[in-house]
């Protein structure tokens, strides 16, 4: 299987070619009519370094005011620099009947220089030959002998080509699309990792509950728990209330006040105080009011009665 798209039909594009009518995807190899070549021996180690200096190498060699792209590779000790105008190339291909979406990759004849051991005829008047390891277009009449000639086929397809996606009207260039894709993918990874961490936190909470239930296995059932709570909560509330009443009553006993009787059961309470004089009785009343207890004065005395329901 070839996933690079190099198994597609390779068409040699040159200025004198006949228009084509294709409904399938092809690769295109361009003759030197569409690019400018330069070879240099430079102390560079990597192609990206060479590509960075490529524009300066072609100053004065390519038409100014037009956008040029560059492709660089190493042949022996030399770096091969190739400048091309993608806009001009796509315009030419469109003129010759190529549907740009059907052009998978663009290659340059120089990339297949090793295969040019014989001339390759371009139409009736021109031929493609290799001179000093450089592919050039020469008039056919300049050839020393008439044949044999190279037969152009898919075997001329080089490994590395130029994609055309950016050239036929995409809003985003490949570089921009890749950058956006990387950013979005990083964010998505971040979200997935965070999501997974939240999911783990839930498991921790559940483990904590499981631990508690293991210590108190009788509380496994929610029904049991609710029943126990209902039972004891009722007792707890009622008993706290009773104790609160007793505490309030005891707080109301001071000098001049005597507890005559106190009676509390499960439903109500009844308290009677004997007060020394009216002033003490009033103070007891005020204290009762403060505790939201209602007092009743016993006729003919300073005694007070407090009653209420629980």
């Amino acid at each position: 299987m070839n996933f690079t798209g190099n198994n597609k039909e390779l068409i040699l594009a040159h200025t004198s070619m006949k228009p084509v009518d294709l409904s399938y995807t092809v690769n295109v190899m361009l003759t030197p009519q569409f690019y400018t070549l330069k070879k240099e021996v430079l102390p560079l180690n990597y192609a990206y370094q060479a590509k960075r200096i490529a524009p300066s190498l072609f100053e004065g060699l390519v038409e100014e005011g037009r956008d040029h792209d560059y492709i660089v590779w190493k042949e022996g000790d030399e770096w091969v620099f190739l400048a091309y105008d993608m806009e001009m190339i796509t315009a030419f291909l469109a003129r010759k009947g190529f549907v740009l979406e059907n052009v998978s990759k663009i290659f340059f004849a120089q990339q297949a220089v090793d295969l040019f051991d014989k001339p390759l005829v371009l139409g009736e008047n021109e031929a493609l030959v290799s001179l000093d390891d450089m592919i050039v277009v020469v008039p056919r009449g300049a050839l020393m002998e008439e044949g044999p000639f190279l037969v152009f086929d898919n075997s001329f397809t080089p490994k590395k080509g130029v994609g055309l996606q950016d050239a036929y009207g995409s809003v985003l260039s490949m570089k921009q699309a890749s950058t956006l894709a990387v950013i979005f993918t990083l964010f998505s990874l971040m979200f997935f990792v965070e999501g997974s961490r939240y999911s783990n936190n839930v498991q921790v909470g559940e483990a904590q509950m499981q631990e508690l239930l293991e210590d108190y296995p009788s509380l496994q059932s929610k029904y049991t728990r609710d029943n126990i709570i209902t039972k004891y909560k009722t007792i707890d509330t009622a008993e706290r209330k009773k104790r609160e009443i007793v505490k309030m009553v005891s707080d109301m006993i001071f000098k001049g006040v005597t507890l005559t009787s106190f009676d509390i059961d499960e439903k109500s309470y009844k308290v009677q105080f004997s007060c020394k004089d009216a002033q003490v009785a009033n103070r007891v009343k005020a204290l009762a009011k403060k505790n939201n207890l209602s007092t009743t004065a016993i006729a003919g005395s300073n005694d007070l009665k407090i009653e209420g329901a629980l």
Binding site: E101, S170, F184, T185, S188, V202, L212, A238, E239, L259
Partner: protein, 133 residues
């Protein structure tokens, strides 16, 4: 092929959709965590409440502690009747000090007070007390 024309946009869009799915996944997990945590917290709270309530109101030492009410006051003043987890006690002629001691003790016991009646007779107090646990 039209899709090839928009290949770059499709790549960016696919990555964007992936990011959106990732965001959705995270949002679901956050929301689910909040719900589960709230539910777990509520359950843990309930369990702790049950444990605390049981510790108070179903304390096995309560019987032993209630028995102390019998010996807290001189035996001559006490009439004691105990059956299963129920006690009926009657105290006669208690001084104010003894009354305070007795009431404080009763209030600190985890029992259901069914009746607590204090009556002042001359300078002393009579107490009737009925409880269960």
């Amino acid at each position: 092929m039209t899709w090839k024309r928009y290949q770059n946009e499709l790549i960016a869009l696919a990555a964007f959709v992936l990011m959106f799915i990732g965001y959705g996944y995270k949002a679901v997990q956050v929301s689910s965590q909040a719900d589960t945590m709230a539910s777990t917290k509520h359950s843990v709270g309930k369990i702790k409440e049950v444990i605390a309530l049981k510790k108070i109101w179903a304390d096995k030492k309560t019987t032993k502690n209630v028995e102390k009410l019998q010996t807290l006051i001189p035996v001559s003043k006490v009439q004691w009747s105990s059956k299963s987890k129920k006690v009926t006690a009657s105290y006669k002629g208690l001084s104010a000090k003894e009354l305070n001691k007795l009431v404080t003790k009763i209030l600190n016991l985890p029992v259901e007070i069914q009746k607590l009646k204090i009556q002042k007779i001359a300078s002393s107090y009579d107490v009737e007390f009925k409880c269960k646990w």
